[in-house]
Symmetry: C4
Subunit: 387 residues, 4 copies
C-alpha cells in the first residue's frame, strides 16, 4: 500500500505499533467530542476556488520567531513519541531539518534534550510543562539553552492531566504492576517489527528529561504517577515571570482557547501563543481550535504571533488554519503516526504530502505566497435555495 496521505500513515502506524501505543497517540480525553470537532470543523470549512491566475511560482516559506521556515509549520511536542520508532525524536528532528521546519521536543519525550541536540544540526524548539519542583525546571531550561534551543513552548493547559479512557482499555493506564506489563507485552508481541526495532533495540525506554527525577522507576505507570503528582495545578499568570527570568529567547504560550486569556498572554509579553486544546486530550467538550482561533487572532494577532494546532490532517487544513488567522501551525498526530509508520522516512513523507497538498490549495485559491492566505480564500456558504 502506498502511503499517499496522512490517513494512510495513520493506518500504517496502526498496523505497526502495539495497540497501547497506537491508541495512546490516536485517542482523546473522555468522550472525545473535542477530538472529533477538531477534525470535523476543519474538514467542513469551505475554500474559495479562483481560476486563471498565474500560479506557476509558489513560495511556501515564512518566518517563525526570527527563524526562516520552509513551510508555515512546526512539529508539535508529543510526549513518549520517541517510542514509536527507535530513538524516535532523533529520527523526527532529522526529518524536520531536511524539510526545513522546526521540531519541538516535549518535556516528556523519550530522548533527552542532549540526545536530540546531538542528532540535530540546527536549533530546535523545546516544550516545557509547569512542574512543582522549580529547581528541576531551571535545570531543564539550562539544558535547553545549552543545547541551543531557539524557542521555548510553555504549555499551560495541563494544570491537571485529563483522562484518556482508551489508555485504560489498552492497559497503558490504570493497570499498575505486573498485570499491566504482561498485557502490554502481549500487544507488543503481535507487532514483531516494532518489538525488534524499539522494544529490543530502542533502549533505554525512559523519559529522557524526566528520568533523573523518576529515580530509577522506569515503568510506564511510574511515569503517569509522576505526571499526576508533579504537574503543578497552582500554575498561574505570575509564574510567567519565573519563566521569563530563566529564558531570554522567544516564549510561546501553548494551550490558549479564550480571547481573554490571549490578551493576558499578550499583556505579559509572550512572543507567541498556540491556540490549542491539546489535540482534544485535556478538557473534552471545548471548542475545536478552528472555531476558537478567529476571535483570538482578531484580539491579539497584531501583538504576538498566533499559531494553532488540532485536527490538521492535510495541507488543505494547514491553509485553512492560516485563512482563519494563524501565522503558522503545529502538526501533532500527523508526525507521530508517520514516525510509527516508517520512522524518519515516514516523517519526511508526511511533510512532503503536506507540502504538495498546500501547493494545490494555494494554486487553486490563487495564492502564491503564505502572506496571501487570509479570510478571503474562505467561501461563504449561502443558504441552498437563496439567490
Amino acid at each position: 500500500m502506498i502511503l499517499a496521505s496522512v490517513p494512510d500513515l495513520r493506518a500504517a502506524a496502526k498496523k505497526r505499533l502495539p495497540r497501547f501505543l497506537f491508541e495512546y497517540i490516536d485517542g482523546g480525553s473522555y468522550a472525545e467530542a473535542t477530538l472529533r470537532r477538531n477534525v470535523a470543523d476543519l474538514a467542513e470549512l469551505p475554500l474559495r476556488q479562483r481560476v486563471l491566475r498565474d500560479v506557476s511560482a509558489l513560495d511556501l516559506s515564512t518566518e517563525l520567531f526570527g527563524q526562516k521556515s520552509a513551510l508555515p509549520l512546526a512539529l508539535a511536542p508529543i510526549g513518549l513519541a520517541g517510542l514509536n520508532a527507535r530513538r524516535g525524536e532523533c529520527q523526527a528532528v532529522r526529518a524536520a531539518e531536511k524539510a526545513g521546519v522546526p521540531f519541538t521536543l516535549s518535556t516528556v519525550g523519550a530522548c533527552t534534550i542532549g540526545e536530540v541536540a546531538a542528532a540535530a544540526s540546527k536549533p530546535f524548539w523545546f516544550q516545557l510543562y509547569m512542574i512543582r519542583d522549580r529547581a528541576f525546571m531551571k535545570d531543564l531550561l539550562a539544558k535547553a539553552r545549552a543545547a541551543g534551543c531557539s524557542t521555548l513552548v510553555f504549555t499551560v493547559d495541563m494544570p491537571v492531566p485529563g483522562a484518556r479512557y482508551r489508555d485504560y482499555h489498552t492497559g497503558l493506564a490504570g493497570s499498575g504492576g505486573l498485570k499491566g506489563a504482561v498485557w502490554r507485552a502481549a500487544q507488543a508481541a503481535m507487532r514483531p517489527g516494532w518489538a525488534w526495532d524499539v522494544g529490543l533495540n530502542g533502549r533505554p525506554h525512559t523519559l529522557g528529561n524526566v528520568a533523573p527525577v523518576l529515580q530509577g522507576k522506569t515503568g510506564i505507570e511510574d511515569f503517569f504517577a509522576w505526571m499526576r503528582h508533579n504537574f503543578d495545578p497552582s500554575i498561574n499568570w505570575r509564574d510567567l515571570d519565573f519563566i521569563r527570568a530563566e529564558w531570554d529567547g522567544p516564549l510561546v504560550i501553548k494551550g490558549i482557547l479564550d480571547p481573554e486569556d490571549a490578551k493576558e498572554a499578550a499583556e505579559l509579553g509572550a512572543d507567541g501563543l498556540v491556540v490549542s486544546n491539546h489535540g482534544g486530550r485535556q478538557l473534552d467538550g471545548v471548542l475545536s481550535s478552528a472555531r476558537a482561533l478567529p476571535p483570538i487572532a482578531e484580539a491579539v494577532g497584531d501583538r504576538l504571533t498566533v499559531l494553532a494546532d488540532g485536527g490538521i490532517r492535510s495541507g488543505l487544513d494547514v491553509v485553512r488554519m492560516l485563512a482563519l488567522g494563524a501565522k503558522g501551525v503545529l502538526l501533532g498526530r500527523a508526525w507521530a503516526w508517520a514516525l510509527g509508520a516508517a520512522g524518519e522516512a515516514g516523517v519526511t513523507r508526511m511533510l512532503a504530502i503536506i507540502e504538495a497538498e498546500m501547493r494545490i490549495a494555494m494554486a487553486l485559491t490563487g495564492c502564491t505566497r503564505i502572506a496571501d492566505i487570509d479570510r478571503s480564500i474562505l467561501a461563504t456558504t449561502p443558504g441552498l435555495a437563496a439567490p
Copy 2:
C-alpha cells in the same frame, strides 16, 4: 477490563444482568427520541477553557435542602433497582453515604423503607408517586418520616405510565403468565453470576413498599398491572396540599419541563423541583432536560432549589447542568448500571469517576468552588467562518 468511565460501567452491567433487566434500565419510551436528546444535547454543550488560574484547591461540596453534600448531586429514584444486585438499594445507599451524597429510594424499589433505613446510617431521600389509594400514601409517608427520611421527592410526570417497547421485546412487559416467566428465566440462566447473587440469594423479589397492597401477587406482570391501575391520572396542583399536610420536611417536585409549571410549583411553596423527563421514559419527544433547564432556572431559580436530571454520563455533564442553571443534579442510569456491574463497589467507583471528572472540568474552566460554575463557563459557538 478496567471500569474507567460510566460507559464502561454500562457495558459491564450489560454483561452481568439478564437481558430483560438491562434493557429495562437502559431503554426509554416509544421511539426513544428524548432519551437520545438527553445525552446528545449535554455532550454537545461547549465548555470554555481558561488557563493559568490557580486551581490547586478545589471544593466540590454544596448544600441541598439544608444537608451538606460532598458533591452537588444525589442518586435518583429508580424503580426495581434493587434487582440489579442483592438487596440492591441497601448496597447503593451505603455507597452514597460513603461518598457523602444523598440516596433517593423509589416508591417502587425492591427494598422497603425500613430495610434501607436499617442499612443506612444517615437520612436518605424518599420518592413518592401519586396513588389512587390515599390511605396507602399516608402510610408510606408515615414510614418515611419514621425512617428519618430527610427530603420528599414527589414525582408528577407519571399520571399514566408511558410504554417502553424494549420491555415488550424482552418479555418484561406484555407477556403475562407462564410464557413471560419462562422467557425471563431463560435470560437469567445466561447470566449465572446474577442468577446466583440475586435470583437465588437476593430474595424476596417483591417491590418492598408496594408488596402489602399487591396482596401476595409477586409476578412482575402483577407489578406493571398495579402501576397501570393505581397511579392516579387525576393528580393536579391541589393534591400538593394533601402532601403538604402529611409531610413537613423539604418537598421537591420531580418531573417539571415547562416554566409555567415551574412557576406554579414555586407559588405553591415547593422547596425544590427537578427538571426531568423521567430519563426519556415518559412522553417521548419532549425536550432534553439540558434544553428545558435554562428558562426554568431563569423563571424560578431564585425562589426554589432547581435540580435537573437526564442524560448525565460524566462529571463533565454534571458541570454542564450546573452551568445551565441547576443547583444540583440527580444521577439515574449511572448508578443503576454501576450497581448492576459491581454492586456497592460499582456505585462507589461510579461516584469516584464522576468526582474526578468534575475536578478536571472545574480546574480547566477555572472554577474552584461549585458556586463559581455558571453560564460564563459555556463557550459561545461562533459560526465557523465568521470573525
Copy 3:
C-alpha cells in the same frame, strides 16, 4: 414477539409478505428523500409536557365530514392493499368499523366497491383517480354512491405515476412476462403463510374496480401499464366541475402541498383537503407533510377541513399533526403493514396502539379533548446555550 408498536407490525409484515409486496408498500419514489423526511420531521417535532392537570377523563373522538369518528383519523387509500391478506380490504374495513374510524377504499384496491360494501356495515370512504375514460369514472362514482360511500377522496397528485425503484429491484415493475412472474413466484414461495392465505385462497387477484376495463389481462404488469396509459395528465382545476356534477357528498382533494393550490381548492368549494405527498411515492424531494402543513392550515383552515398524512408511525405523530394544524389524519403504511402482519386482527391491534399512544401524548401535554390540541403543545427549541 409481541407486536407492541407500529415498527413491530412493519417487521412482522416483512417476515410474512413476499419481498415484492413488502417493498412495494414500504418504498418511496426515486431517492426516497421525501419518504425519509416525512418520518424524520415528525419524529423531531418537540412536544411540550405539562403536569398536574387532571387528565383522568380523555375524549379522543371528533367529527369528520359530518360523521362521528372515535379517533381523529381514517385509513388512507392504498392500492393493491387487498393482496396483503385474504380479501384484504374487507378485513381492514371491518377492523376500522370496530375501532369506529373511516376506511378509504382505493380506486385500485383488490376488492371491488361492492365486495367491501358487503363486508362493511357502515358507510366507508372512496378514493378516485382522474382517468382518461370519463365514462369509466362516472360508472365508479355511481357504484360508490350505490354502496353508500360517505365521502369522496379525489387524489390529484398523480397526473403521471412516479417511479419507485424498489419495485424494479424486486421484479414487481419493469419485468414483464414470464420472467417477472417466475421471479415473484419464487419470492412468494419463501412466504408459505402468505402463499396459502392469499396466493391460493385469496383469489381473484385482480384490481376489483379496474378489472372490467383491463379486459381479462390480470398480470401485475398489465395493471402498471394501464395506470401509465389511463391516468390523465391533462387533469386540471376545471375537472373538479365534472366530479362535482357526479358527486354530491363531501369532496376531499388529496395531494395538496402548496398554499396556493390549497386556496384554489377552497375557492372551488371542496369540503376538505389532504396535505399529502402520497407517502413519498410521487415527486421525491418535496417537503415532508409536517413541514407543508402549517402554512396550508393557516391559509385555508377556516374554510375547509384540513387533513394530513405521511410518515405517521405512532399516536404521538397523530397528535403532532393535529398540533401543526390538521383536523384529522390518514394512516397509510401503518394499516398496510398491520394487515400484512396479521390481517384484520393486525389492523385492530394497530388502531389500539395508536389510541393508547395518543392517550399518553394527550395526558402528558395536558389535553383532554381533541380540540385542545394546538400549536401550544409544541415546545419551542431554544438554542442550547441561550438563556
Copy 4:
C-alpha cells in the same frame, strides 16, 4: 437486475470494470468532501409540487450555443472514459446523437478527435486543457475545427492536477513500472468481460489526442507524468486571447466557482461557462456546484450561457440545477458509469432514465417547458414548528 436508475448503472459498472478503473471514475480528490457535497446539496434541495395544471404536453428541448438539444444537457468531458468500453467515446457519441444531445470529447480521451468524428454524424463538442506546448494546442484546435466540432469547452480549473487518493490505493497512480502494471492486470483478470471487450479487443490503449507527444510511452504512469509536467500552471486570463485567436466558434469556460471569475469571463467575451468543481476532483473543500451556482447565475446569467455540473444523479437533479439558474447541465459520472455498465446501450438507457425523471419532475412542479423552470419551483423550508 434491471438498470432502473443512475445508481443502478453505477452498481453495474462496479461489477464490470476492473477496480482501478471504477475507483478512478468514482472517486474525488483528497478527503472527497466536495464530491459528497455535490451530491448531498442537490439531493437536499426541496422541490415545490403543484397540482391540477394540465401537463399532458411537455417539451424538454432547448438550444445550447445555437444548436437545438433534445434535453437541456450535454455529456461532460471525461478523460480516459474510452477505456470503460471498447472504443468508448465512439459508443458514447452515438448514444448522445440518438438522444439528440451534445457529446464532449476530452483532451485526454482514449479516442482521437478523428476517430470520434468518424463514429459521429453530427458536430460534437471538444474540451481543451491549457498545455505548455502552444504548438500542440494549436494543432489540437485545428483538428477539432477540421472534425467540425461545434463548441469548445476550455477547462480552467486544472492549472495543477489535484491528487485522488483512491488511485494510489488501486495502483493506478504512484506505482510506476512493473509493480503497478502487474497489480492492475490482476484487477483486470477479475473482470473477464471487460478484459475481453476492452483489454484484448479495445486497443490501442493510448490517449488518442495526446499519444503523438507521449512519444511511444503508453503506460498509464507515463500519462499521469505527462499531465503533471505539461499542464500549464501559468495559465491566466490573457491566455483566453490565444484561444480566441485559434477558435472562432462558441467558447465555454469550464471550472468557474466564483462570481468574480464569472464576471471576468463575461468581460472577456466567453459565450458560456460551466459552474463546476471538476466533479470534486480538484480543490477538495470548495462549495458544491449547487451552492456556487445561484450567485454566478445572478451575476452573469444575462450576459452568457451559464451551465453547471457536479453531483447530478437523476433527472430531478437536472431540474434542480435549472431551478438554481443554469440554462443546461453536463453529466459526468452518470455517462461514464453507464458506458462501463453496458456500452452504448448503457448510455442510451441512462439518457432515457434522465428524461423520464425530468418529465415527472416537470409534470409535478407544473412546468411544461424548460423555460418555465426557475426558482419558483423550489420550496422554501419553513422551520418545523413555525406557522
